[in-house]
Structure formats: C-alpha cells, structure tokens
C-alpha cells in the first residue's frame, strides 16, 4: 500500500490506489458483527484457509512479473495435480510420501501443459488472460476424456473403489482419507481451539522466499524486463518468447503443487469439478489483496486471502441476518468474486488507455513546441 507519496500522506491517492482492499475491509467490517461468529472461529477459519490457498495464489505471481497478466491457465496445473492424486490413491501410497509422489507425477504433466499454454499465449500477445481462460475449457475436455474414458480402460487403474462401477472412468469423488491433512498435521500447534498447520506455513514461507530470490536471478530480471517492455527486452538480447513460456511453465507447476496442498487439506477430490473454479477464486483473492494485472506482491497474496476468505466465511450468515435468506449471502460472494475481477480488468484497461492518451498528448505538445 502506498501510504506515503512524496513524503506526504494523500488520503485521496491512498483510496484511489487501494480502492479494492479498502472496499473489502469495509464489507468485512459491516458483515462480521452482523454474522455474529466468535472471533476464535473466524481466526481458526482464516488460518486454515491461508494454509489451503496461499500456495495456489503465490503461483500467480511469476506470470504477472513477466507481463502476462493473471494466469487463468493455472487451472491446467490444478488438473495435473489431480491426476497425480488419482494415481497415488490407486497405488495406495499413504501420507506425506503420497503427497510428494503426487507432486512428482504432476510435474511432467504441468510442464507439458504449461509449455502448450505458453506457446499459444505467445501467439496471442496482449490477450494472454482470455487465451488462458479459453485454454482451460479446451484442456478440461481432454482431462475429462482421459479421466472418464481412458482411466481404467487404457490407463491401468487397479482398485474398484476409485473406478466407476462400469469398470472404467474415475468416480465423481475420490476419497483422500489416507492423505487427509498429512502436511497440516505433520507439525501442528494448537492454541486453544485454533490449529496452526506450521509445516504448511513453512512450505508457504519457502515459496515466498523462492519468489523473492527468483526475482533477483538472471531469469527473474529477464522476466521483469519482458514484463516492462517486450521490444526493449528483445533489443537487449533476451529471448522474449522463451522467457514467457518459462514463466507460464513455472506457474503451472507451482499451481499443481498448490492444488495438491489444497486437496490434502480438504480430504476429498471431486474429480470433474475441483479445478473448475480454482483459478477464478485465486485470481479474485489476489485482486482483492490490491494486486493489479501488471503488478502483484507477496503482501497482496496474504491480504487477499484474509479479506476474500473472511468475506466468504461471513457472507452467508450476514446475508441470512440482513435479508432472512442465506442464499443471498451465497450469491453475494459469488457476485463479488466475478465482480472484483471485472472491475480490476476494467480499471487496468482504463489506466492503460489513460497512460497512452497522456503519452500522446505529451508527444503532441512536444511537437507543437518544436514547430514554434
């Protein structure tokens, strides 16, 4: 948050720069007392949701750094993670080894999908977000073909408890009971009723450190250069297309890991739908944290998770208390998720156009002065 600008605090600039987080702070401030949840419950839920979602949202930072906007293609990584989990369930690998194995299985699938996504995004420069979004549907179709028809018939699946009774295809829900909260419970500290999944937080902290370190590496600097201006980056000898593909591959692989962390916390996998909204909610959370299409930080991730999920927790009860119908709260939170993405994209486009028009005016002014 830009509290200080030119050494003086400008309240108007502050609200202008942080309009989305401020709006969500206000929504939460109104909804929390109305919902009437005890503070301990809210804290417990927030801590659980930070552990569950933060890794996934952190996976979005690298493509933003490379100027590719919000990576809607992270869903591809989520699908790769799910495929890893299906195999691990079938092979009966329990606990932490199961999670590590699922992550390893997801890597080649994520790399392949990330490469495909990055290559297509390179063909659609400037429209990466919508390209990524549509890629989801395309790959989702292939995912469903593999999981619904190939698994059990072409791809060997041994155990009938994850197969559909017809003998091929994976069940709608796969029980992850043998892996459930293995990471969270590895080092867990209880303070009153609040359980803190320390090991998951360590993983998230390591991921944050990795991002901080990665920004300082040659590749990280290249990505930032590409993100600022592709032509200038190309002129300095950076292979722009390759750098952009690497950023998408990294994001997809990390999204796969994030999805596995997310699902081990939930304890079950809804095979055909678990990934469908994950990109949307992660992007919404990041935007709620004050990020934009071209700028995001680790701070935005955590502020976003807290505010967005706080709103998620309190909205149904607040909706029920205000209108007498909890579905209103349910609709409200879905509406806000989509709404915040729309507003952020519109604001980004408006800002871009304003900057373009300002640059145009400055150029015209300079030309006028030169003519005099």
């Amino acid at each position: 948050m830009k509290l200080l600008k030119n050494n003086s605090f400008n309240i108007l600039t502050f609200f202008k720069d942080n309009s989305v987080p401020v709006m969500f702070v206000l929504i939460c401030a109104v909804c929390i007392p109305v919902a009437g949840f005890p503070l301990q419950y809210l804290l417990s839920e927030i801590i659980t949701r930070i552990g569950r979602n933060a890794f996934l949202i952190l996976a979005l930072l690298i493509p933003i750094m490379a100027g590719m906007g919000l990576n809607f293609g992270m869903t591809l990584g989520a699908m790769a993670g799910e495929i890893g989990l299906i195999f691990v369930c079938d092979w009966r690998i329990y606990g932490i080894p199961g999670i590590v194995l699922a992550m390893i299985i997801s890597i080649p699938i994520s790399v392949l999908l990330g490469w495909l996504c990055g290559t297509i995004m390179n063909m659609a420069k400037g429209r990466e977000m919508i390209t990524g979004y549509i890629m989801n549907y395309f790959i989702n179709g292939i995912y469903q073909l593999i999981v619904l028809f190939c698994m059990g018939s072409i791809i060997p699946i041994k155990h009938s408890d994850i197969l559909l009774p017809r003998g091929y295809g994976i069940r709608v829900t796969v029980d992850l009971i043998n892996m459930r909260q293995s990471l969270d419970n590895l080092i867990a500290v209880r303070i009153g009723m609040i359980k803190i999944p320390v090991f998951t937080f360590i993983l998230i902290a390591l991921m944050c450190l990795f991002i901080v370190w990665f920004r300082k590496t040659k590749l990280g600097q290249d990505m930032r250069a590409v993100g600022q201006d592709m032509e200038v980056a190309r002129a300095t000898g950076i292979t722009v297309e390759r750098t952009r593909i690497i950023s998408i591959i990294m994001s997809t692989v990390l999204a796969g890991f994030g999805m596995i962390i997310y699902l081990q916390n939930i304890g079950s996998l809804t095979t055909y739908t678990a990934h469908s909204q994950i990109g949307m909610f992660c992007i919404a959370a990041l935007l709620v944290g004050g990020a934009s299409v071209d700028k995001a930080s680790i701070g935005n991730v955590f502020l976003g998770v807290i505010l967005f999920h706080l709103m998620f927790i309190v909205a149904p009860n607040a909706g029920a208390a205000i209108t007498g119908d909890s579905m209103i709260g349910e609709y409200f939170r879905v509406f806000v998720s989509y709404g915040v993405i729309t507003v952020a994209l519109a604001m980004y486009e408006a800002k871009k156009r304003r900057a373009k028009s300002l640059a145009g005016r400055k150029l015209a002014q300079a030309q006028k002065e030169e003519a005099k």
Partner: protein, 153 residues
Amino acid sequence: MRVKRQTLFIVGAVLLLVGIAVLMVIIGRGHIVYVDNKTVEYNGNEYKAYNLVELSAKGNDPQEAFARDRILFKCVGQSLKIEYEATKKQSSSPEKGIINKKIPFSWDAVVVNLPAYFAGLPEEVWFTEFIQEPPADKSSSNEEIVFDEFTAF
C-alpha cells in the same frame, strides 16, 4: 558446452525426481491390516478366540479385540509391527508380545488371525492376503454421471 551442461542438469534433475518417486512408493505403500480374534480350525483342531487382546501399532490408536472381533490397522511401509497383550480367559494372566512381519508389497490388505498366531500355526494360516470381492454385476450398478451443457463452464 553450455548446451551439454544444461542437458546434463536436466537429466540429473529427472533422475533425482525418479529416485525420490521410487523411494516414496516404497516407504509410503500403505496396507490395511485386519486383525481377527476369531476361533480358527486347522487339521481338525479348534483354536479358540481369546477373551481380550489389546493391540497397538505405530501410527494407530491402541485398540481392544474381544472374542469374535475384527479390528483394522493401517500400516505404511512393508514392516508390520503389532504389540499385543492377550488374555485367554477372564481369570488368566495376560501374555505380552510383538508380531513382526514383512507384508508383501503387492498386497493391499492382510488378515492376521490371532488365535492361530498364538498357537504357533504355520504362517499361511495366520497371515493371509485379504482380497476384496469385485462388485457383483457391473452393468446393473452403473454410477450415472449427470452433465448438463453448462457443467464444464
């Protein structure tokens, strides 16, 4: 030279990942262990169930098996180690001991029959693979997957 180094690095990373994956498969392979305290017949002799057997295994809560009970443990890895305290009759004093056994990698579930083990019967009597019966009729029990045209969206 740079390309060669890069290739070596990639091959090394892949081999490392494969190595870790194999290790995870070995150390993380899970088995369900059913422990039966049920009367067993062998060679025309009957070996009666114990009155009470208290059992504990690593990573599981301690459990009690009364006569005719079947209890379940989860075992991660191939080494099964169950500590027991068995009381044959209500009046008798308990016997303590440890069951140590390697579970074959390919077995998903095993059955350990305690009276047979306590009687010192051959391994194939007290330690057997548990094979789950497949669903009776595949065609009649189809789990229908309902999609509408917007499910994917």
